[in-house]
C-alpha cells in the first residue's frame, strides 16, 4: 500500500431508504454497503466477489463516483470527489476531469450500446469529448487502430456495423474500446464477462490485461465467480476483496486468497467454485442457503447466521479487521485470545 493511492475509499456507507409517499410506516433502509475501506493504486486490479445483493456493484459505483455514499469519503488523487462535485473543495480539480478518469463497462454489452448508431459513431463520442481538436480522419484512424488492437478485423468493416450485427464478445470489446478512448485511470468492469460464453471469458480477460499495460489504467473487476477473479487479479498482481451483506470480510493478494482463505465465507465461495478435479463436493460449509435480508442484517458478524464456525460471541460482537500476512480478515478466529474460542457454538 503506497502513501498515495489513486482512489481511496474510507469507511464507506451506502444506505438506500425506501420513502414511499403512501406508506406511513417506518421507512425501510437497505444497508447496501457498510463501513468499507479500500485503496486502489495506479495500475492496480481489485476484484470484488460475493453473492447477488452483497453490495459489490454499489461499492464499485461508489468508487468511481456514480453513487454518492451516505457516509465516509471517496478520494481521487487526494481530492474528495464529492467535495469537488459540490464545489466545496478548495482545489482547482474539475469534476469533469474526475468523471472522465473513472469509466465503467456494464454487464450486458447489448444494452449499453446505442442500437441506432454505428460502431464508429459510438466510439467517436468519447474522442470528441477528450480530444475535441481531432479531425474526422484522425478520429477514424484512432478508432480503426484500436478496433484492430482488440481483434476486430478488418476495422473498416466493423466500424460501419450496428451493435446488433456484432456477437456478444464483440459488443463487449466495443464497450471496452469506448471506455479506453476516454484515457481513464480506472475502469469499473461490472460483471463484464459474465454474459459471455465460458470459453470466451479468458480471451476477454486477457485482452483487458494486455490493454492495461498499454493504457496505464486500473481495474475494479466485479464478479460472482472466484475463479475469474483469481485469473484477472492474479495475472495483474492485484487483490481480491470478498464482500458479504455490504461488508468487506476479507481482502488480500489473489493467490493468497485462493490458496489460504482465512474467513469462513471466503472458504464458502471457494467451495462454490466448480473445479475439474471432481473431488467429493460434500456438504456446503455453511448452515443456511439463503442470504438474510439486507434491510435487517444480523447482529454482530453478519455471517453468523450461516457460518459453520460461528459461536455465541459472533452473534453479539462485530469483528474488527485482523491482519493475516498480507490478508485483512474480519473474523474472531484470527485472534487467539478472543472469547470466541470459549463461547458456545451456534447450531440452528
Amino acid at each position: 500500500m503506497s502513501d498515495n493511492p489513486l482512489i481511496s475509499l474510507e469507511d464507506i456507507e451506502v444506505h438506500f431508504t425506501n420513502e414511499n409517499l403512501l406508506n406511513f410506516d417506518e421507512p425501510e433502509t437497505v444497508h447496501a454497503v457498510d463501513g468499507v475501506s479500500l485503496d486502489i493504486e495506479e495500475n492496480d486490479i481489485v476484484s470484488l466477489v460475493g453473492e447477488s445483493g452483497c453490495g459489490k456493484t454499489t461499492l464499485g459505483k461508489t468508487a468511481i463516483g456514480l453513487q454518492r455514499p451516505t457516509g465516509g469519503s471517496v478520494t481521487y488523487r487526494g481530492e474528495d470527489i464529492w467535495a469537488v462535485r459540490d464545489g466545496t473543495a478548495t482545489t482547482e480539480t474539475e469534476w469533469e476531469d474526475i468523471r472522465t478518469s473513472l469509466q465503467i463497462i456494464h454487464q450486458d454489452p447489448g444494452a449499453s450500446l446505442n442500437p441506432n448508431r454505428r460502431i464508429v459513431s459510438i466510439l467517436s463520442e468519447p474522442l470528441r469529448q477528450v480530444n475535441p481538436e481531432l479531425s474526422r480522419s484522425e478520429k477514424r484512424s484512432r478508432i480503426y487502430s484500436l478496433l484492430e488492437r482488440v481483434g476486430m478485423n478488418p476495422p473498416q468493416d466493423f466500424a460501419e456495423r450496428y451493435p446488433h450485427q456484432l456477437s456478444g464478445g464483440e459488443q463487449q470489446r466495443v464497450a471496452l474500446c469506448r471506455a479506453l478512448l476516454m484515457n481513464p485511470d480506472v475502469i469499473l468492469a461490472d460483471e463484464a464477462i459474465s454474459a459471455l460464453d465460458v470459453s470466451l471469458r479468458v480471451e476477454m480477460m486477457d485482452l483487458m490485461l494486455d490493454l492495461q499495460d498499454e493504457f496505464d489504467t486500473s481495474y475494479i473487476f466485479i464478479s460472482h465467480d472466484l475463479s475469474n477473479a483469481r485469473y484477472f487479479s492474479g495475472h495483474g498482481g492485484g487483490k481480491i476483496g470478498v464482500m458479504y451483506l455490504g461488508e468487506l470480510v476479507e481482502v488480500g493478494p489473489a493467490e493468497d486468497m485462493i490458496n489460504d482463505p482465512q474467513h469462513p465465507y471466503t472458504n464458502v465461495l471457494r467451495w462454490a467454485t466448480p473445479d475439474l478435479a471432481l473431488r467429493g463436493t460434500g456438504e456446503p460449509p455453511m448452515r443456511k442457503i439463503d442470504v438474510p435480508d439486507p434491510v435487517d442484517p444480523p447482529s454482530g458478524c453478519r455471517f453468523h447466521t450461516r457460518c459453520p464456525k460461528a459461536t455465541e460471541a459472533c452473534r453479539q460482537e462485530t469483528p474488527s479487521d485482523y491482519q493475516h500476512g498480507e490478508q485483512t480478515v474480519a473474523c474472531f478466529r484470527e485472534d487467539e485470545n478472543h472469547e470466541y474460542w470459549d463461547s458456545p457454538e451456534l447450531t440452528d
Binding site: 456477437s167 465460458v198 460472482h224 475463479s227 475439474l276 471432481l278 463436493t281 456446503p284 442457503i289 439463503d290
Partner: protein
Amino acid sequence: MAIDQTTDRRVYSADDPIIEIRNAAVTYDEGRSYVLDHVSLELERGEILGVVGESGSGKSMLASSLLDAVPSPGHLTGEITYRPDGEAPINLLELEKADRRSLRWEDISMVFQGAMNSFNPTLDLRTHFEETLRAHDADIKKGLGRAEELLEDLYLEPDRILDSYPHELSGGMQQRALIALSLVLDPDVLVMDEPTAALDLLMQRSILLLLSDLQEKYNLTMVFITHDLPLVAALADRMAIMYAFRLVEIGDTRDIVENAAHPYTRALLNSTPNLDAPLSEMQPIDGQSPAPINMPTGCAYHPRCPLATEECRTEVPDYHEVETDHGSACYHWQASYDEVPLLHENSPGDTTGGVDE
C-alpha cells in the same frame, strides 16, 4: 450435410433407456440447414446427463426435442421414444395432441432458464401449483401436500413461499420454487435448460447439491443443459458435448474430464478458468463457432482444429469408440491426447489448488 450417427450405437447406448433419441434433427428452412443435426442419444433410467455446449450449439433444441416442444416454425424429425417403467414404449413424435399434453409435466417435465419469466407475476405461488394440478386433473389437496414436501426438500418454508408473489422472492428462491413446481406431478424425467445461469455461483452450487438429493429421493432421470462444463461435472453421471448442432463426444463424466477424446472438448476444458489449474496456462479457443447457415463441410470443428486433415474437411466423422460407453466424433481422437494436452491434469490434486510460479 446431414449425417448418420447411428452406425456405432455402442458408444451412446444405455442398458435400461428411459428415452431413446434417434437421428433427432431440427430445421427451420426445410432441410437446407439444421439447428440440431441428427443427434442420437439414449438416456439411462435414473441417470443425470449433463449436456454441454456454447451459445448457439443447439443444446436448447435438444432439450425442446425431448418434449417435442421445438418452437414454431421449426420442424423436428427423427425418432424419440419414451419408455415408462413397465409400460409400452411411446413414440413421442406420433402422439395425439391431448396425450402429448398430459405426457408433458406428468412424465417429462422441464425447467427453463430465468425463473422470473416462467411465473405469472400477478399470481401467488399457491395459485401456480393449484392451476398446474387442476390442468392435469390431479388431486389438488394431495398435490399441494407434495408441493410442500418438495419445497421443504429445497430448503424453502412452504407456507411463506406459497403465499408469496414471484417478485417477493430472491432469484435463487424463485428458481428453487420453479423446480418444485416442475416436479409436483411426479414426473420420471426432468429436463433443465440452464436452470442456474442467472444466479450467483454459490446459489448455483447449492441448487446442484439439492438436485442430486432430489434425484435420489424421487428416483428421477435428469438432463442438465449448460454452457458451464465444470459446474455440471460435479453433478452429472454422464456428459454429452455439443458443438455446432451436433453431439461430438459422450461418455462418463470422469472419462470426459480426465480423458476427453475430442479436440474441441479438450480445448473447452483448457479454456475454463479453474482454481486448480496453474494460473499461467489457460487458453482461449481461437476462432468462432459456425452459424447454421454457414456450416463448414465435414467436421464442423475443422476450421479451428489443430489436427484437421483433408478427411476432416470433406467427411463428417462418425463416432469412434474410445472405450466402452465413451465415443468421440473425431478421426484423430488418439492424436488429440498429445496435440491438445489437458492443463488441469498437471496441477496438484490437493485442496490448496494450483500454485503459480
